[in-house]
Amino acid sequence: MSAAENKTEAPEEQGFDGDPRSLLRSVVESNGLVVFLAVLAALVVGAVLVVFADESVQDASSYFFSRPMDTLSAAWGAITDAYVAMFQGSIYNLHADSFSGSIKPLTNSLTFSAPLIFAGLGLGVGFRAGLFNIGAQGQVILGAIMAGFVGFAFHLPFGVHLALAVIGAILGGALWGFIPGLLKATTGAHEVIVTIMLNYVGLYLLAWLLSLESWQAPGSDNPKSPRIDETAEWPSLLGDSFGLHWGFVAALLAAWGVWWLMERSTWGFTFRAVGANPSAATIAGMNVKVTYVLVMVIAGTLAGLAGGTQVLGTEKALTTGIAGSIGFDAITVALLGRSRPLGIVAAGILFGGLRASGPTLQVQAGLPIDIVLVIQSVIVLFIAAPPLVRFLFRLPDPRLVKEVTA
């Protein structure tokens, strides 16, 4: 695949050009509308699945031709059940007794979103530099391993311990990003393949570590590490009744840092130049190979922090499933956020909300969390292909309109 390197570019933004007369047109042509319609289309696809799986709809459809309204109302009921459950599980619980109970779902969503934002930021930096890094999963795992190890094996005072655990997460993720970056720079090995393979290497490494006695909780044979020390935990943000912790704030700070890096620093300029056209960047005197290594290290660092957040803030112990599917979800987060920090924060919160709604979805609507995967992937597919969305919703093609006005 090395011939195709540098062909992977994050989609570019084409915003409102400032002409007041074309305000309506620019709304119709804007990416914002495409994003909105893509989310809408994904919810429709999700609704189709919900209807397909719903038993009362299946029962009613057996006599569809004698009483079609039964089927339709059953279908409508199933869909509203699902999406109301999703709303209550991720944003606001209407049935809670207290205010804190009502907003708990929202804080859960933010907790889920923190690692997604971290890892999504890392992937976004890579995409903008023309590197398609599928290895966030492995980088998250390595970050989690290191953070967890520092967390339970060392016993240090408050502050120092957390700082050291976070540095551990950074080093773990950075190492797993450094390897594909170095291989790409020195041998031209395609980062997609190397990072996919490193994901599995990281997964088995974690499984092996957790099979060692010294990494298991004392007196237990489960592949689960001892609980990390309280001094290494991210402190909780809103008190102990909420799961939300300072890791989320750290993710927001990281988003600001990435914005500064990409938009205001020389490094960021180099990254973007290499992403836009590596040959031109070389001619302009930029070192493309060093840039590839740097970008991958930064991407790994951020993904490692995602793993650290999972261990130090949310799970508080290392398990084989610590990374969940954060690394893969983060790809969709970065694509949805168009690799821009602000977009990634928004997309991370959206997908964190989808994830957080899982238990409620299961209990209230009897639906498995897997529907979230479908919604996520459909959103990203549609966003990646704006012409398809325009075709589905009969929107004008921006290029044609512009030719007319020119």
Partner: protein, 438 residues
């Protein structure tokens, strides 16, 4: 790892780097041989023995179990490894290409040393050679189908990361159709439909809408995992009769995919059970590999496909429909990967479970790269991964001191070495992942 050709001298070897790149194959072989000598040769206690069984119960021609004294065997095999590395040096000095037999012989000798070492001194455990090879071929089946699908797509210029999703979709549809029709073979025949659907989506986004093919592939995998897991947890768990294991399908009067021994050929010791006493899907795999090897490199269709993948503009100039070729190949590739998905359910006699392909699609991708976008090479690489997998299982049975997690990492590490060019140069089709815009 299929062919390790001697590096061609383009100029005087001046720097350390070029020296390294010329002799990396030799260095790699020497390091592995040294590991074998120290770990297996010297690491085996002297005076103990390893016992092997060859015949399985029910074989017509019984070869008795035999045992060998461990240390002499591991030492001999390590010396053979050094000899093979030496042959590579000799051939490279004479600038002669080395055949594919060398890495294969090297791998076999290394596996032999590993098995002898791990079975050493264990009184009641036999190393079941034939059983290991049989399961190696069987475990390679989805990898071969997946790698074949990847080869077909990438030769026409479309990167197929969605192999994982195509396998999973095929596995799902196969078991549902087999359960409904009570016939495993109809299930197997339905599996390609699911794969082709995923392939069609890939073609739609990659060829029609020019979306980055890697993005589409990754996202399609997530989509298929989501849909199959959702339907598994809802429709299939409400109606278990839609998701039956192969044995149950057979019990209700249908036909489970049992192994169909080929007369005479299956009687050959070792080779017979390994290659000719498998089920219909495995035989179909042989046919598909041969057909595509011939078609891709000897037919007009194959020439056109390769032209589209290497230089679409040139192909277009001589009147080949670039995008139509790509769409057809992507759908065909998806169908083949879908067929391979039948392995997980109807061919293995298992019912469907969530994410049951567990990354096999990505290993198939690795097999395709190791096989250098060649059906023949992909088959060999997939067999290598299959054997590595069955070796891992066998060592788990014997109780080896190597953690199974490290053995499980091997295919992935081998792939990293391969793409980094440490095992030999691999060059993908030139127009891969570049949409063709007129």
């Amino acid at each position: 790892m299929t062919t390790v050709s001697a590096s061609v001298h383009t100029g005087p070897a001046t720097s350390l780097r070029s020296l390294l790149s010329q002799w990396k194959a030799v260095i790699g072989y020497a390091v592995i041989a040294l590991v074998s000598l120290i770990a297996f040769g010297l690491g085996t206690e002297s005076g103990v023995s390893t016992s092997f069984t060859v015949s399985q119960t029910g074989d017509a021609l019984q070869v008795p179990a035999f045992s060998v004294s461990s240390q002499p065997v591991t030492l001999t095999l390590s010396v053979i490894l050094f000899a093979l590395a030496g042959y590579q040096v000799w051939a490279q000095l004479r600038r002669e290409p080395v055949g594919v037999w060398l890495p294969i012989a090297f791998g076999l000798a290394f596996m032999g040393a590993l098995l002898t070492w791990s079975g050493a001194g264990r009184e009641n455990t036999n190393v079941a050679l034939t059983g290991m090879l049989v399961s190696g071929v069987f475990l390679a089946v989805p990898l071969v189908f997946g790698a074949m699908a990847g080869t077909l797509c990438e030769r026409s210029g479309v990167v197929n990361i969605a192999i994982e999703g195509q396998l999973l979709g095929g596995a799902f549809l196969a078991v549902v159709v087999a359960s409904v029709t009570d016939n495993a073979y109809i299930g197997m025949a339905a599996a390609p439909i699911a794969g082709a659907l995923v392939g069609a989506l890939l073609a739609l986004f990659a060829v029609r809408y020019w979306v980055d093919q890697i993005v589409v592939g990754v996202v399609l995998n997530v989509l298929v995992i989501g849909i199959t897991s959702f339907l598994f947890s809802t429709v299939l768990s409400d109606n278990p009769e839609f998701n039956q294991a192969g044995a149950q399908i057979g019990a209700q009067g249908g036909v489970a995919m049992q192994s169909l021994p080929i007369p005479l050929l299956s009687e050959i010791p070792i080779l017979g059970p390994v290659f000719f006493d498998q089920n219909a899907l495995v035989y179909l795999m042989y046919v598909i590999v041969i057909v595509f090897q011939v078609m891709l490199f000897k037919s007009r269709w194959g020439l056109r496909v390769r032209a589209v993948g290497e230089h679409p503009k040139a192909a277009d100039t001589v009147g080949i429909k670039v995008n139509r070729t790509r769409v057809r190949n992507t759908i065909l590739g998806g169908a083949i990967a879908g067929l391979g998905g039948a392995f997980f359910t109807v061919a293995s006699g298992l019912s469907f479970s969530k994410e049951m392909t567990s990354g096999k699609g990505y290993i198939a991708l690795a097999a395709m790269i190791l096989g250098r976008w060649n059906p023949k090479g992909a088959l060999l690489a997939a067999l290598l991964f299959g054997f590595a997998d069955s070796l891992r299982i066998q060592l788990g049975v014997i109780g080896s001191s190597i953690p199974s997690e490290f053995l499980a990492m091997l295919p992935y590490l081998a792939t990293i070495f391969a793409v980094a060019g440490l095992v030999g140069k691999s060059r993908p089709p030139a127009a891969e992942n570049i949409p063709y815009k007129k």
